[in-house]
Subunit: 347 residues, 2 copies
Amino acid sequence: MPNHGDATLPAHWGPPYLLYLGNPADDLAIKTARGVAWWRPEWCVGQYRHPDCKLTLGLPDIGMAEARARGANTMMIGTANAGGVMAPEIVADAIAALDAGLNVVAGLHQKLRANADIVAAAQRNGRVLFDARDPAPGIPVGTGRPRAGRRLLTVGTDCSVGKMYTTLALERAMRQRGCAADFRATGQTGIFVAGAGVPVDAVVADFISGAVEWISPARSDDGWDLIEGQGSLFHPSYAGVSLGLLHGAQPDALVLCHEPTRRHMRGLPGYPLPELRHCLEANLAAARLTNPAVRAVGVALNTSGMPAPEALAACQRISDLLQLPCQDPVSMGVEAIVDNLLACFAN
Amino acid sequence: MPNHGDATLPAHWGPPYLLYLGNPADDLAIKTARGVAWWRPEWCVGQYRHPDCKLTLGLPDIGMAEARARGANTMMIGTANAGGVMAPEIVADAIAALDAGLNVVAGLHQKLRANADIVAAAQRNGRVLFDARDPAPGIPVGTGRPRAGRRLLTVGTDCSVGKMYTTLALERAMRQRGCAADFRATGQTGIFVAGAGVPVDAVVADFISGAVEWISPARSDDGWDLIEGQGSLFHPSYAGVSLGLLHGAQPDALVLCHEPTRRHMRGLPGYPLPELRHCLEANLAAARLTNPAVRAVGVALNTSGMPAPEALAACQRISDLLQLPCQDPVSMGVEAIVDNLLACFAN
């Protein structure tokens, strides 16, 4: 867990952040930074851009020393480029940030900690580096032992259908109602948004369920852990991750996430998306292994590719089909899903 | 793939083996060596034991230089001890083997390649080290693309119920009938028996199905790849590995493995074993994602904990229940299962 400036503790990454954009190729390249700026604006002191950068997150453009002066603890390299390679200017900027007294975090395939110059700069400044794709050491094997507390997991018909956004929208809506609710991150962007978490697709295969047990331990405050799902039981490349995540989460409640305009499983033209009812039932059946009382509480539809009237009609159709509230978290909110969740677990 | 002594190729691990026993604590500690001696006696030149060693594989006791003189290519450290730690005498013996001109392989948690003295000895002798728990670099993400050839996968109600033995028994029986059939290893002992393979529980989670696609590529000779299963869809700690393995294998045929005296899932007293029919149907349903034509062809029962008449009765009962041949591969062979496999895929 990060600490936020207590000088008696060792340096640790975490917010407040300076969001590093550099000179990104396109909007997709700053997806992670955009997610953090969207969900945690209060953690973002500013953005660092090269002179040629055409994109913006709408944050103040500031340098590293100024960011430090304004209270930033960490520079987050939220860019992704082809192959996850660390360009020479990113290396130079990471070193400059460390020399300015910031910790540095990144989610590139190529690791900060694999670059000797960056490591040396961190050491001479007493700053820490964090690679979001490197799982913490010491993750245990899953035990399947029932644990206290309530947990909700987002599951999907496919990869990249909005599981992280849905989970964070639920956190925001529940907190606005005064419920204790905590997002538990399982992917790179989610980890930066939460300031903690495990990149569950990067752990060694034997430890998938253990990693999820570890990030959502027993709780006794009547609150909810809201666990970010990954992949899909129906994706031939990644279903193992999704199943281990489902078992480790021991979810009480599932929210099914779907993108209705998608024509095939992400990256695999030969594979159609699963039928919604079949997908939900398969997830419930698998989840019962570690929590026999699991139930579905809602459907989150990513309708960004549809006109508004069609989106509403699609939600109504799916709601009728599955007898569950169905909403687009971005354009419609998640109040109906939260209503149903709280009604299902009222006592 | 290992080469076996062609001086124009670089040194590579592989048989013939000198099996290293050292001074093991108990029979369980030499399980891997015993598996290799049982399934590949023709690859085993001898065993290396310390004077106090009470256990034997029934192989000639020879030293390292003599093993080299008799044609051994590799010393296999087939022992496991508490915590997978490499004891000082194992380090010394590994160095002596390298100095005698042998390659050295091991399946300990602690890696040969993490020990500077062992690495130096390998370098000065031009020998290679291989840690069976280290997956090869460059394993791709699974694609789910249909590939040519026929594949059989062993699946289980639990871990350690005889999946490797069953798969190897099928290979032996099919080869005796003149069928092309190749065991594909997914665990440490299997990798030493096959001389190749991937420790699928040690790959990064995103690459489970890709690893299995990689070890069982398309084949066009009408032969069978017989893929060693791992874990169980019903084991809360490891089901993710089992599901990724199932999807990557794209199996045409499944053999269900079971140990009927087991009272709960391995290591988890709170979890009963799944009912056989439910377990088989769940495996078939999940396997259909990447091979809709998958079918079950038999059940392998590990009856080592039962008297012979009971074992026969148990096989009969399960055979009637599932309408599949059911045999103990060790005490009864696998001929009825092979008969059914070949009948099911006759054309």
